[in-house]
């Protein structure tokens, strides 16, 4: 019972997120690549997706700034860095290249496991391998 109570809020948040990605067509790689195809047949749908999400979240941040702690927790645990470093830029470039190649980013890829499991599985498996490789290289660089 306590496990269900603990799992339910993140599960509902994830389900809403997956529903939003699917309603907006973001689980269709062709639509995402259409957004990136600025010099071809540009499809601006993603602008509306990001706009709608940012709008709601901008309000949420205003509410958050007046809260002492989250509704179901003791404290907020949020990123607090503001420096622009090399890994941020290089990592974002690598991500953008992969995003452009396949028209997939992590959210839609995992959501697609329900819609086209076999087609998207190579991407999800490779994504986890890429994350593991990044962790390994970072640990090695720290040790050296």
């Amino acid at each position: 019972m306590s496990l269900i109570r603990k799992l339910l809020p993140p599960l509902i948040s994830g389900a809403l997120f997956g529903a939003g990605l699917t309603v907006s067509g973001m689980t269709d790689p062709a639509r995402v690549r259409g957004f990136l195809d600025v010099f071809g047949q540009w499809d601006p749908t993603l602008v509306f997706v990001m706009g709608g999400a940012v709008l709601v979240m901008a309000v949420a941040w205003r509410i958050q700034s007046r809260m002492a702690h989250p509704v179901f927790g003791e404290k907020f645990s949020l990123p607090d860095r503001s420096d622009l470093d090399r890994p941020l830029i290089v990592g974002s470039i690598l991500f953008g290249v992969g995003w452009g190649i396949a028209g997939l980013c992590p959210g839609p890829a995992i959501a697609s496991l329900a819609l086209s499991p076999l087609s998207v599985l190579p991407f999800v498996a490779a994504m986890l391998a890429g994350m593991a490789l990044q962790k390994l290289l970072t640990q090695r660089a720290r040790a050296a």
């Binding site: 809020p9 529903a19 907006s24 990136l36 709608g52 990123p79 980013c105 992590p106 991407f123 962790k135």
Partner: protein
């Protein structure tokens, strides 16, 4: 609702989906006090990343993504999307996994949660991965 200039765009679907995504991220922020960043949550769930989120909450969120996607696909009667061939997906997946970890986030964490908070790191990351995606799609289009 359609645009004559952009026949492929689905602005209303995009906006509704975007609002749902924003709501999901707002729930994570105000409820659990955390960022709904899919790449970070994936790393947390698989033990590839550190963080304050419990692995069970991370798995709860990730399990929600395909559940929400499946519900919408059934309700709207969506046909499965088309994905690239598996070798292409593997290359893209490696880049997305490595890049999102190196750059500390993806479309959800930087693009939605960070941009709406006016985080300088997230704005720079978002502009960078969209630019990299645009250039990648343009190059692939020019070469094929």
């Amino acid at each position: 609702m359609t645009f004559d200039a952009f026949p492929y765009a689905q602005p209303l679907h995009g906006l509704v989906g975007g609002l749902l995504i924003g709501l999901a991220a707002a729930m994570m922020l105000l409820g659990a006090g955390r960022i709904a960043g899919v790449s970070g949550i994936t790393a947390r769930a698989t033990g590839l990343g550190k963080g304050d989120m419990s692995p069970s909450s991370a798995w709860g969120f990730l399990a929600g993504l395909p559940i929400g996607a499946a519900v919408v696909a059934v309700l709207l009667g969506l046909a499965p999307a088309r994905f690239a061939e598996w070798p292409v997906l593997v290359v893209a997946g490696l880049l997305v996994g490595f890049g999102t970890r190196m750059g500390s986030g993806c479309t959800s964490g930087h693009g939605v949660c960070g941009v709406s908070r006016f985080s300088a790191r997230s704005i720079v990351a978002t502009v960078t991965f969209i630019a990299a995606g645009v250039i990648t799609v343009a190059l692939i289009g020019a070469l094929s």
